[in-house]
């Protein structure tokens, strides 16, 4: 049944084709700007902190794909349903709100990745070059850790969406978590280039597991042992976040007020 929700949402995206073309152009320009700044930074610098320009561009291109997980915006999904009162129906439906939200959003994200991010990656690879992983183990480890990263991100979003029951709006929480995420996930600047103290803070937070760690495995900056360790930590974070989510959800059910009529 959740599979059907996933499929429906995937099909819905196919309808908005012009939108997708404009979005493709916009994203391509952003990518272009990013590539240009790294090329300019690396002019006359063969490598920095053990990272070469080729590795850096590979990093920039591969995160084009995994950065799409940010569209698993459960907080927006919940926020809209709580604000317009539809959540009252969700409470009496025989399906889990959490999993149907996830299935719907995952449909959109799969669409984006298949028809948007991967073409972008291929186009970028043709123009600027792309270094495939040297070792075979990097492929499965990257895929596994990217998938776990998506689940970690969805869990963070789930926690945020529960705050809507208290605050009645999702804008602020989304803005602030978004800012923390941008700072600490490594999507704009990989954590290799952070000052030590900031890297230390990033290490304590779950955000780096969504973008930085999977991409690090792909570009070969992680040893096999480190990759295993990363995946272990991702699973632990996943358990911790979901345990917390379950606990808060039980509280939220008690205080929910339904708006609108």
């Amino acid at each position: 049944m959740y599979l059907a929700m996933w499929k429906n949402s995937f099909k819905r995206c196919l309808v908005y084709r012009t939108n997708t073309i404009i979005q493709f152009f916009t994203s391509f320009v952003y990518l272009f700007v990013t590539v240009n700044i790294w090329q300019a930074l690396y002019r006359n610098v063969p490598q920095l902190n053990g990272v070469s320009l080729a590795q850096m561009l590979t990093y920039v291109l591969i995160i084009q794909v995994i950065v799409r997980f940010q569209d698993l915006e459960l907080s927006r999904y919940y926020g809209e349903r709580i604000i317009n009162g539809n959540v009252s129906i969700d409470f009496i439906r025989p399906v889990s709100l959490k999993y149907s939200a996830f299935a719907t959003l995952a449909g959109e994200v799969s669409f984006q990745i298949l028809l948007f991010s991967i073409p972008m990656l291929v186009l970028g690879a043709f123009i600027w070059g792309f270094v495939l992983p040297a070792a075979l183990w990097q492929w499965p480890m990257f895929l596994l850790s990217a998938l776990l990263g998506a689940l970690v991100y969805a869990s963070i979003e789930y926690l945020m969406s529960l705050t809507v029951f208290w605050f009645k709006t999702y804008f602020h929480v989304q803005c602030i978590t978004g800012a923390l995420f941008t700072l600490f996930c490594g999507s704009a600047v990989p954590l290799w280039f952070y000052p030590d103290w900031l890297h230390a803070i990033a290490n304590l937070l779950p955000f780096r597991f969504v973008i930085f760690e999977p991409a690090g495995i792909f570009v070969g900056k992680s040893t096999f042992e480190h990759a295993i360790f990363t995946i272990g930590l991702q699973i632990s974070w996943l358990f911790a976040l979901n345990f917390l989510g379950h606990f808060i959800w039980r509280r939220a059910q008690l205080i929910v007020t339904v708006q609108g009529g």
């Binding site: 012009t18 404009i22 979005q23 152009f25 916009t26 320009v29 952003y30 700007v33 240009n36 700044i37 090329q39 300019a40 930074l41 002019r43 610098v45 920095l48 902190n49 804008f171 602020h172 803005c175 602030i176 978004g178 800012a179 923390l180 941008t182 700072l183 704009a188 600047v189 290799w192 280039f193 952070y194 000052p195 900031l198």
Partner: protein, 266 residues
């Protein structure tokens, strides 16, 4: 004069609205400040470990970023709502109201929708500007501060002009969202000094979509740099002129637009 007083009255109304919903206003401003602050940090961090990009140090790039943030906030106060809401108004016919007042419709449209939502952007922009000037150890004489104010107003006018020129086509086209997206897409080029791009992109950002006048050219006067690529160095002083020209173009387009406007009726 009459217009100035009237404008001020409309602004006062918007402030009262903000005051009425003070908690929401503060929470929103705080959230926006955090988001903007994170962008400033990311810009700095991009350059940080390399020390500089071409001849630009991390704080010089941060100065460029802060100038754009301030410019966007200034345009946001005065021009964002009037022109982003224009499409809606033209499509559902509420634009009729603008034409029935005993005022210049352009003025009435602009004064109706002063936005109080950009104080956070402005505060972060000014903070980043001051921090970069201090870190770069640049002392400004009174005259230079005056010029800085003129330049910042000019940069605000450039962004205002772009808001106008990208939204006014709604008088002819039904959906213009794509044009707005284009505006923000081109704006993303000036996050960094435009000398990092190929010359043809720099030319485009100077003469066709003149975003380079928001930060790249005017900043070089204060930083005493001369990274002018193929362009004449006097462009560093042209920001206010570009701002005025863009807004005049916007105004002219608006006049053409209302002549073409046929109410959708309701």
């Amino acid at each position: 004069m009459r217009y100035a007083l009237l404008y001020w009255d409309f602004v006062k109304i918007q402030f009262r609205v903000a005051q009425e919903y003070r908690a929401a206003f503060l929470a929103r401003s705080f959230a926006k400040a955090v988001a903007n602050g994170a962008s400033v940090c990311i810009t700095y961090l991009t350059i940080y470990s390399f020390g500089h990009v071409l001849s630009w140090s991390a704080f010089e790039v941060m100065l460029l970023f802060s100038m754009n943030t301030i410019a966007y906030a200034l345009a946001g106060f005065f021009m964002f709502h009037p022109f982003t809401k224009l499409q809606q108004r033209v499509n559902d016919g509420t634009f009729d109201e603008m034409l029935t007042k005993p005022l210049n419709p352009f003025f009435y449209l602009c004064s109706r929708d002063f936005s109080t939502g950009y104080f956070a952007n402005l505060a972060v922009g000014i903070a980043a500007l001051v921090v970069s000037f201090i870190q770069l150890d640049i002392k400004l004489s009174a005259l230079k501060i005056l010029w800085l104010v003129v330049v910042l107003i000019g940069t605000g006018m450039i962004h205002s002009g772009f808001f106008m020129l990208t939204n006014i086509p709604t008088f002819w086209l039904i959906k213009i969202d794509a044009i707005g997206r284009l505006r923000s897409t081109f704006e993303s080029f000036i996050r960094y000094p435009i000398s990092i791009y190929d010359t043809w992109i720099a030319v485009m950002l100077t003469y066709i979509f003149p975003f380079a006048f928001v930060n790249f050219f005017p900043a070089q006067y204060f930083l005493q740099k001369s990274d002018f690529m193929i362009f004449p160095p006097m462009l560093t002083f042209m920001t206010p002129v570009v701002g005025v020209v863009l807004m005049l173009m916007g105004y002219a387009l608006f006049q053409l637009g209302i002549r073409n406007y046929k109410s959708s009726g309701s």
